[in-house]
Amino acid sequence: MKSSGCLAGIALVLFAALLGSCPPASWADNPVPAKPVEAANGMVASAHPLASAVGLEILKKGGNAVDAAVATAFALGVVEPNASGLGGGGFIVFYNAKTKSVESIDYREVAPLKATPDMYKLTPDGKIVDNATTIGHRAVAVPGTLAGLEMALKRWGTMSLKDLMAPSIKLAEDGYTVSATLNGMMKDNFEKLSRFPAASKIYLKNGLPYEDGDKLVLKDLAKSYRLIAEKGSDVFYKGEIAEAIEKEMAAGGGLITKADLAAYTPTVREPVRGTYRGYEIISMPPPSSGGTHVIQILNILEGFDMARLGHNTAASIHIMAEAMKRVFADRAKYSGDADFVKVPTKALLSKEYAAESRKQISEEKVGEKVPAGNPFPYQSGGTSHSSYVDKDGNMVALTQTINLFFASGVVVPGYGIMLNDEMDDFTPVPGNANSVEPRKRPISSMSPTIVLKDGKPLLSVGTPGATRIITALPQVIMNVVDHGMDLQQAINAPRIHCMTGEILMESRVPKEVQETLKAKGHKVTVRGAMDLYFGGAQGVMVDTKTGKLYGGADPRRDGFAAGY
């Protein structure tokens, strides 16, 4: 009795104390913004507040959207090291306000010269022996990030590489606070990080993951950034860093040599284009399958009255899922590096082909399983997207990656560069459009996308999330076009994903909708409420009447929009 009275007293005191320190009402790791950020002159939306701040600083100094994009990309390599960086690759789409044209640069990684279609051993049940495509030295493809960003800067930017890298050097040297998101990534990839001493040294603190609130300093990466800022990209592709990469590869049984690095070049490509209810959708062409298939999904859905069907109703989700299944079946069969294989992009983008696919869709019945062709491995979204618009109306969509979170786990010792595991995006057996070949780019789902309205830039948007990129972006675009949402609402809204039949969805999709879909015959898997499985879309939008700028950021990652 005495002890329970004491207990109650302690509890009351604790209750009073705790009341003053109670967490916010939302259980989400990150606060969910209700409204987009508004600004008049420039806007940056990226996956981390510190990276967005770097981009904004560049815009305020007079840099254009491309300058901001390049600076932010380097910053993301510091503050989101699990998702992109020097050791990876990416794509950038640029709307040039002066010429009113849209261009893109492909800086996807390429297979090393010594790579062969049968370089990976499979078990009898089709698994990759030793996870060699995702972990370790043989998983690494030749990085393209630095070359791609440099090309973008030379073609479209106004500032120097040195000036644009300076904020990131400071970030890496001074360190930054680890977020709950990054902590979660480190915990999820603890085994990978533990396995490689160079990675452990940087990303583990006394052998354990850095915790939310800890300070992470990246001195070796800062050193690499300084070398590049001072000596240019040649130090990475031909000089000291190239030597270090080659040495590490040789030590670990990897294939990349200095010759591979010296031979790497990014490629300017004509973007893919489509329309959706009068809006022009412009995105990445092959080797990204993403742009083509985002437009393909929208083409199919354009034939349904999505506004009437409603947002995330059972009827609209059913239609979306049926469209997605058909598109992924095509992706499995046809997508690859168009420099090596014939990809029927025009046909896939055509309204006629969409009409044919649409005929197979019943609003009442669940379609029979559409053959997937060659299966692709399940992937997590170790990728980062950022969007930009400047005071002159230039707009950038940039998505870059190192593939899976913390990629291969291989860090170049002394240089802090986490090397990609992009080889996993190839089909690991010979005879497929996406099989390994020397210097070939593996297919990607990355879809940095620009939307025009009446020829004027309206929206830059993109997301990480592997194959969920292809399904998330049509939903964000339809949320704006069909459902009248503002950019932040469009990003926040619950998402679904479907590839071959099973519909995965965030738990915020109403329960009755979930039950109706199950009753219809769909297999439904419900994930978290605000689940980063479904990507981390970051976007900027322009009110084409008033010129006001809006930034939307995804709380599923540490997304942050900043404008001035």
């Binding site: 705790l18 967490p23 996870n131 979660g184 915990k187 999820d188």
Partner: protein
């Protein structure tokens, strides 16, 4: 209105946590050697191993331990956290993992081996995959060590209260070292 209910819910969870935390001051002593296993196959088991090693606690780490491995062991430590990747790498599905865990817990009970459950994954190790393992292991545990961030909704506290198991909350994974030291008398 909604905010008020959420805050009240949190306050109730805090009270519950405070009550069980107080109960955690009840002495729980464990002995070596320890069999360390996983329930859910997340990487948390490797982190617990590091913490045991730091305290020089004699432990055999066997993430997929079977009941027979309890022979000669004085404590069963279970790192609770579900991981699709971990289950896949182990070649085991959720149902088989739950069955394995159940068998080991039953054997531990039959042998009188106390179960020390560690839930150190925080919020990232909560959800559809992990929560059933939390419930399962808590029901058989003698003591829980929990990183507080993983119990924001009071789920673990409620499970512990139901099973009448004391909890020690810590803020960070690194802080688990101290209660382990105390528990094992190091």
């Amino acid at each position: 209105m909604r905010v008020r209910w959420v805050v009240m819910g949190w306050a109730a969870a805090c009270l519950l946590a405070a009550a069980t935390a107080s109960a955690a001051e009840v002495k729980f002593a464990a002995k070596e050697p320890v069999l360390l296993m996983s329930a859910g196959q997340s990487a948390d088991v490797q982190m617990v191993k590091i913490l045991l090693d730091r305290n020089k606690i004699s432990a055999k780490t066997s993430p997929l331990a079977g009941p027979d491995e309890l022979q000669g062991m004085k404590t069963l430590a279970v790192a609770v956290g579900g991981s699709g990747k971990g289950l896949g790498a182990a070649g085991i599905d959720v149902e088989k993992e739950a069955a394995r865990v159940r068998k080991v817990l039953e054997k531990a009970k039959a042998m009188g081996v106390p179960v020390l459950a560690l839930m150190i994954g925080g919020q990232s190790k909560r959800g559809e995959l992990s929560d059933p393992f939390i419930t399962q292991v808590t029901a058989s545990a003698s003591y829980l060590i929990v990183v507080k961030e993983g119990d924001q909704d009071g789920f673990i506290s409620k499970a512990a209260a139901k099973a009448k198991v004391p909890i020690r909350f810590v803020e960070k994974i690194s802080e688990v070292q101290e209660p382990l030291k105390t528990i094992f008398g190091k």
